[in-house]
C-alpha cells in the first residue's frame, strides 16, 4: 500500500498494538500529527511539556510491561525529552520515542529547531536511529520496538526528518526481525546453573538479592516459589519493592543506603548472594571493600556488562531471570533442606527485632511515615503508587506494604525529580481500574506541575500526596548530617497555594495538617474521581533513617534510636 511516511508511523504504532501515545506537536513532526488527526487506532495525550510526555510513556510501560510511546518535535522538543530518555535508560524501561528532525537537506546547517538528536541521545538510549530513506522507515520502527523490549529493555529513539514523513512510498510492515549483530542471551548456561545449585546446597547463610530486573522479567511468582521451596530469606532493592510481597515472612525488607537494619546486616553476613536482576549499585553496596565480605556471589543478569562490573562474581549466569530461575527451581528440587537455614533466619529475625523499621509518631505534627503507613492501610494492594525523588520516595519505599510487582513506580537509577506526576498519568492510562497515587514532595512536584492541566483535560484522576516539609528535604537532611546545618538553597518556605493552584487548573485540592483531615481528604479525593492534590503539612526536620552515609560500610547505619551525628565517610 502506498502512503506518506507520516502515515507509516501511525500504521506501525497500530501494528505494534500501541493504545496510547504521549506527545507534543511542533514543526518537524507536524506531518505525523496530521496523520494522527485522521486515525483512530490509538489515543494521543497532549502533555504540557515533552519531558512529561516521555515520563508518562515510561509510567505506562512500567505499569503495563508493554513498550511506552512518546512523540516530540525536533530541537527543543527533543532536548526536553532527554531527561525522560535518561530516566528510562537507567531503569531499563522499554520505550520508543519518535522525534521530528529538520529535512535531510537542512541537517548540518544549524537550521531552525535543528539539534543532533542522535548525538545527544546516544549515551541515554539503548539504541537510536536517524531515518535517511523512506524505504528504511518500516524496518526501523519494527526494530525499534524489538530492541526496546528484548534483552535488557531500554528506550529507543527514532529521529525522522520532515521530508521523510512527507514522502510517499510503499508500506509493508515487516513481520520478521533481522539484526544479525543483536542477539541477547536469554537462556542461562546449564553448566553454570548446576554450579550455582551446588553452591546453594553448600551455603549456610544464603540470601536472595532481588533487583528491578526481576520486575522487568515478570519473575515475581518464580522468585516467591523459589524462596518458599528453599526457605532462603530475601532482600529487595528500591526497584524490586513488591516482588516478594510485604506479607512474605521471608522478606527482610529493602537494603542499601536507606535499607532496614536486618536487610543490610543480612547482606553483610551472608555467605552466598543469589542476585536476581540486580546490579550492585553504589546506593545498595555502600563502600565496596566492606560489602558482603563473607559472600560468594551468584549473579543472574541478562546484561553481561553488569556482571563483574563492581563486585567480583563467583557464579556468573547471563540470562533472563525467569528463564534461569525456572531451571534453578527444577534443578534444586529436593536438594535443599528448608530446615538447613533456620539458624540463619533466626539470626536475621533477631536483627529485625533489635532495630525494626520504625519512627516516632507524634500527636502534635503529622509524620510523613504515618501518612505512608496510613495510605497502605487504606489502599494496600489495590493502589499503584508512583513517586518523585527525595525523602518522600524513601519513606514510601520503606513503609508502604507493596504486595506485587509493578505496584511501585519510581525513578531509581537517575533519580529524576518531576518524574512521579507525569508517570502517574501513564500508569492510570495503562491501569484505569486501579487507584493511582503519586507520593511527592514540595520540591519535586513543581518540576512538572503543568501536568495538572493535562490530567484535568483528559480526566485522569490521579491523587497526588505532597509530603510538604517546606524543604528540599533530602538535600536538607544531608546538610544537617554532613554540612553542619548550613541550609544552602534548600528552604522552600516560599511556595504556591497548592490547593488554589490545583483548583485553578481544574482539579481538587486539600490542605491537611491532622490525621483526621488526611483520612477525609483521601476518601473525598477517591470519590471525586478527579485529579487531586492533597497538600500535607509534615514534620519539617524529619530524617530518612536508617541511613548509610555515602560510601560508608553497609553495616554502619545511622539508626533512628541513636543520636544522629555522623560525618560523611570519605
Amino acid at each position: 500500500m502506498k502512503m506518506k511516511g507520516a502515515q507509516m508511523v501511525c500504521e506501525a504504532l497500530i501494528a505494534e498494538g500501541v493504545k496510547t501515545v504521549f506527545g507534543y506537536p511542533g514543526g518537524a513532526i507536524m506531518n505525523v500529527y496530521d496523520e494522527i488527526y485522521k486515525q483512530d487506532g490509538f489515543e494521543h495525550i497532549l502533555n504540557r511539556h515533552e519531558q512529561a510526555s516521555v515520563h508518562a510513556a515510561d509510567g505506562y510501560a512500567r505499569a503495563s510491561g508493554e513498550v511506552g510511546v512518546a512523540m516530540v518535535t525536533s530541537g527543543p522538543g527533543f532536548t526536553n525529552a532527554v531527561t525522560g530518555l535518561a530516566t528510562a535508560y537507567m531503569d531499563s524501561i522499554p520505550m520508543v520515542v519518535i522525534s521530528g528532525q529538520v529535512p535531510l537537506s537542512l541537517i548540518g546547517t544549524d537550521g531552525f529547531q535543528e539539534i543532533d538528536a542522535i548525538g545527544i541521545s546516544r549515551p541515554c538510549t539503548k539504541h537510536n536511529f536517524l531515518v535517511r530513506e523512506l524505504s528504511d522507515l518500516p524496518r526501523i520502527l519494527k526494530e525499534a520496538f524489538h530492541i526496546a523490549r528484548s534483552g535488557r529493555p531500554g528506550p529507543v529513539l527514532v529521529d525522522i526528518p520532515k521530508d521523510i514523513t512527507a514522502e510517499i512510498g510503499e508500506f509493508v510492515y515487516p513481520d520478521r526481525i533481522n539484526i544479525p549483530s543483536y542477539n541477547p542471551t536469554v537462556k542461562g548456561n546449564k553448566r553454570q546453573i548446576e554450579k550455582a545449585i551446588n553452591a546453594i546446597v553448600k551455603a549456610k547463610k544464603p540470601l536472595l538479592y532481588i533487583g528491578g530486573g526481576a520486575v522487568l522479567s515478570n519473575a515475581s511468582d518464580l522468585i516467591r516459589e523459589f524462596a518458599q521451596t528453599t526457605q532462603i530469606p530475601a532482600v529487595e532493592t528500591l526497584m524490586a519493592r513488591g516482588v516478594m510481597g510485604a506479607k512474605n515472612p521471608l522478606l527482610l525488607g529493602m537494603l542499601g543506603m536507606h535499607g532496614n537494619y536486618a536487610s543490610n546486616m543480612a547482606m553483610s553476613e551472608t555467605d552466598l548472594i543469589i542476585s536476581l536482576g540486580a546490579r550492585f549499585d553504589d546506593r545498595v553496596t555502600g563502600k565496596l571493600s566492606e560489602f558482603a565480605k563473607y559472600a560468594k556471589i551468584i549473579h543472574i543478569d541478562i546484561d553481561p556488562a553488569n556482571i563483574g562490573k563492581l563486585v567480583n562474581v563467583d557464579y556468573p549466569i547471563v540470562g533472563d531471570v525467569s528463564n534461569v530461575l525456572t531451571k534453578l527451581i527444577n534443578g534444586i528440587n529436593g536438594k535443599v533442606n528448608p530446615e538447613a537455614y533456620s539458624d540463619w533466619r533466626e539470626v536475621l529475625e533477631r536483627y529485625d527485632a533489635l532495630h525494626p523499621q520504625s519512627y516516632e509518631d507524634s500527636n502534635k505534627v503529622l509524620k510523613p511515615q504515618w501518612i505512608i503507613e496510613r495510605l497502605g492501610e487504606l489502599l494496600g494492594e489495590e493502589a499503584i503508587i508512583t513517586s518523585d525523588v527525595g525523602q518522600h520516595q524513601m519513606w514510601t519505599a520503606q513503609h508502604y506494604p507493596f504486595d506485587r510487582p509493578r505496584q511501585w513506580i519510581n525513578s531509581g537509577g537517575l533519580g529524576t525529580m518531576g518524574f512521579g506526576f507525569p508517570a502517574s498519568l501513564g500508569v492510570k492510562k495503562a491501569k484505569p481500574e486501579k487507584t493511582v497515587v503519586n507520593i511527592t514532595g514540595d520540591g519535586s512536584i513543581l518540576m512538572n506541575i503543568q501536568e495538572l492541566v493535562t490530567a484535568a483535560e483528559y480526566k485522569i484522576p490521579v491523587i497526588n500526596i505532597i509530603l510538604n516539609n517546606h524543604f528540599l528535604g533530602m538535600v536538607r537532611q544531608w546538610q544537617t548530617f554532613f554540612y553542619e546545618e548550613r541550609y544552602s538553597e534548600t528552604d522552600l518556605s516560599f511556595q504556591p497555594n497548592f490547593k488554589a493552584l490545583t483548583e485553578a487548573c481544574g482539579g481538587v485540592g486539600y490542605d491537611v495538617s491532622t490525621k483526621k483531615e488526611f483520612d477525609e481528604a483521601l476518601k473525598d479525593a477517591i470519590e471525586k474521581d478527579k485529579v487531586a492534590f492533597i497538600n500535607v503539612q509534615v514534620a519539617r526536620f524529619e530524617n530518612v533513617l536508617p541511613m548509610v552515609p555515602a560510601n560508608g560500610a553497609l553495616y554502619n547505619m545511622m539508626l533512628p534510636t541513636k543520636n544522629i551525628e555522623a560525618k560523611e565517610t570519605k
Partner: protein, 156 residues
C-alpha cells in the same frame, strides 16, 4: 591495579553513526583510547575498527562487554597472539642527507616515499615500539612533521 595495554578489533555494521557510538562509549565511561583506526571491510557492509587501549583487567573486561552491547557491533576480538603494525610519515628538510634518511627508513622496513623541492618524506610501517624507535632515531635529521597512524592488528 595494574594497567595493561590491549589491542581490540571491533567488527561493526558500516553505518554513519557507528564510530561516534564507539568513541562516545570510551569518552562517556572514561576508558582510554591510545589509537583508533577504522576502514570498511572489502565486499561487505561491515567495517573493522582497531582500538589500542590501556586499563586494568576489570576495565578491559568492561570495555569488551560494553562494546558488545552496542547494537551495530558484530564481534569484539581482544587480541592476544597478533601481528600488529603501525604506520608513520615523517617530513624532513631538503638540506638533510637523503642517503642517510634512506638507510634509516630501510632499517625500519620503510623507505623514502616522496622528495620535493623543499622536503623529503619518509615512511615506515612496523610494530608500534619499532615505530617509536624510528621516530627517536629520526630526530637528528630535524624532522619538520611527524604523522603517526593508529595500529592495525590481525590475530595469528
Amino acid at each position: 591495579m595494574n594497567e595493561v595495554r590491549r589491542v581490540i578489533s571491533v567488527l561493526v555494521e558500516n553505518e554513519s553513526s557507528v564510530l561516534s557510538r564507539i568513541s562516545g562509549l570510551f569518552a562517556g565511561r572514561a576508558y582510554n583510547i591510545e589509537t583508533l583506526t577504522v576502514a570498511p571491510i572489502p565486499n561487505s557492509n561491515h567495517s573493522h575498527i582497531t582500538i589500542a587501549t590501556k586499563g586494568d583487567e576489570k576495565t578491559l573486561e568492561q570495555i569488551t562487554k560494553q562494546l558488545h552491547k552496542l547494537i551495530p557491533v558484530y564481534k569484539v576480538i581482544e587480541h592476544n597472539q597478533m601481528v600488529e603494525k603501525e604506520m608513520v610519515l615523517i617530513k624532513f628538510p631538503i638540506e638533510q642527507n637523503l642517503a642517510d634518511i634512506q638507510v634509516l627508513c630501510s632499517a625500519y622496513n620503510g623507505g623514502i616515499v616522496n622528495v620535493g623541492e623543499e622536503m623529503i618524506i619518509g615512511m615506515v610501517a612496523d610494530e608500534p615500539f619499532r615505530v617509536k624507535h624510528f621516530i627517536e632515531a629520526s630526530k637528528r635529521y630535524n624532522p619538520i612533521e611527524v604523522v603517526r597512524g593508529g595500529v592495525v592488528a590481525i590475530e595469528r
